[in-house]
């Protein structure tokens, strides 16, 4: 077993363990932290595949931003586990159905590699190969329309989310930062010249 293979199995084992714990652990904060561990391990696996850009972006976006917001929300929830358990048997059939569908889909992907004769493994590229440049070239030429449509959809989502929070309520004591910054000394302070001692009369 080469060292690379050892690293692969190590991170794969951590990934599977973390993914299992995400759904089995009771404390939701622990579940989110295990999800973070799962993302991190899969980023390590991507690094082994020489997909540095994707691996680092996975860490940057999912671990560094999305999961922080997740954690932020989950930590503030006051979750009563007993109440959540009540509907367990009622939702079990739906859950099983969804679970089976996911397993079947993943199985279809994997079957290719187990049943069909193995194709030639991709050759490792040299150290001069820039993954990032290739990805950029592909994304901005061949896939430019899907890419820009996705960007437009995200922009619409941002605008919608912000529009939902914009409420003008009368009577609130909102501050106007522009007015605060524009303030001058003479608006706030009056300098008074006074003698240090009272002059004798």
């Amino acid at each position: 077993m080469t060292f690379e293979l050892f690293i692969f199995y190590l991170f794969a084992a951590v990934l599977v363990f973390a993914a299992l714990r995400v759904v089995t652990v009771r404390n939701p904060v622990h579940a989110v932290l295990f999800l973070v561990l799962a993302f991190f391990s899969s980023a390590a696996l991507w690094l082994l595949l020489e997909a540095e850009f994707l691996a680092l972006v996975l860490v940057l976006v999912y671990v560094g931003a999305v999961m922080v917001l997740f954690l932020f929300v989950v930590m503030m929830l006051d979750i009563n586990v007993a109440v959540l358990r009540e509907g367990f048997t009622r939702y079990l059939p739906v859950g099983l159905l969804v679970g089976l569908a996911i397993v079947a889909e993943m199985g279809l992907v994997l079957v290719r590699y187990f049943v069909l004769p193995p194709g030639s493994a991709p050759k490792p590229v040299g150290p001069d190969f820039s993954n990032t440049r290739m990805l950029g070239d592909l994304l901005y030429t061949h896939y430019v329309y899907p890419f820009e449509i996705a960007a437009a959809i995200l922009l619409v989502a941002i605008v919608a989310a912000i529009a939902l929070t914009l409420r003008r309520r009368p009577g609130t004591k909102h501050q106007d930062p522009a007015a605060q910054i524009a303030v001058r000394r003479r608006d706030r302070v009056r300098l008074v010249r006074m003698d240090a001692e009272k002059k004798p009369e």
Binding site: V36, L56, V57, L60, V63, G64, V68, F72, P177
Partner: protein
Amino acid sequence: MTATLLEFWNGLPEDFRIPVLILLKIVAILVPLMLSVAYLTFAERKIIGYMQIRIGPQRVGPRGWLQPIADALKLLLKEIIVPANANRFLFLLAPVLSIGPALAAWSVMPFGHGMVLANVDAGLLFLLALTSMGVYGVIIAGWASNSKYAFLGAMRSAAQMVAYEIAMGFALVGALMAGGSLNLGKIVLAQQGGVLHWFWLPLLPLFFIYFISGVAETNRAPFDVAEGESEIVAGFHVEYSGMAFAVFFLAEYANMILISTLAAVLFLGGWLSPFEGTGWQAYVNWVPGTVWLLLKAAGFLFLFLWFRATFPRYRYDQIMRLGWKVFIPITIVWLFLEGFAILFHLQPWFA
């Protein structure tokens, strides 16, 4: 003597030599880093002292020079107290998660031409990914402590870091666009040709935003609401004592040094001499590039301390407003302008 040692070394198997060499390089980076952290705390107390017309520490050793050593010894010997209802594992894991990224980020930092531990192609992205993970130490510390003050600090810190990371990321995108590479060494080499060729000039707004976001990202004054001594005692690390606290402290100062060095690398030409292209260069040729880099970084570190002595703490909503409504729009506009400058080959930066 040296010849026999060299012969012995070359006789060793390569599988053994390479890891040993890498480990030695790591030590060669981390030991000076730790010493810098120790003496940065000393410099902070002295400089802020003089700014406030005090003398600062002066009792331990000649002129107080042994003060950081005494502080470290004190912290080493103190007991680590774990609060009664704290989550013990996460409580002790948090400082490790805090210092891990702060140290690992140094692996891609170029100290001179080719003087880098790991010459990674996507070095800048690696740095951004690692610095974005530092927030977990703070959040987990706040949550695992099972204390209201700690939790408030963690919440503030999480919101602040997410906000400023975006502005910081955009500022870094500006630097990588100008440098035409994600590799830090190549970004420095793209700035050759003297002070006016460095990226601080074409990327002036991004340079300011990067450094201010860096101050916010490291939770330093005036953005230190996560600690906020006067409001929430010490914020996320209020329950920590002894070495567990010291590790948080180390991480904060290591991050300050990292942000300063990175600002020097991306915007002030890294290890390049400031006299390049002038008649003075002939007199300073003997100065190694690393010295220039460290001088520039020291300048930024001084700014960190100066800020702390000068500005009152920002209010929380003001911090959020500055991050989301001021910095992010400015960076986006400047990235557009920079794109046009690159398109039209604006001289001398975008040849």
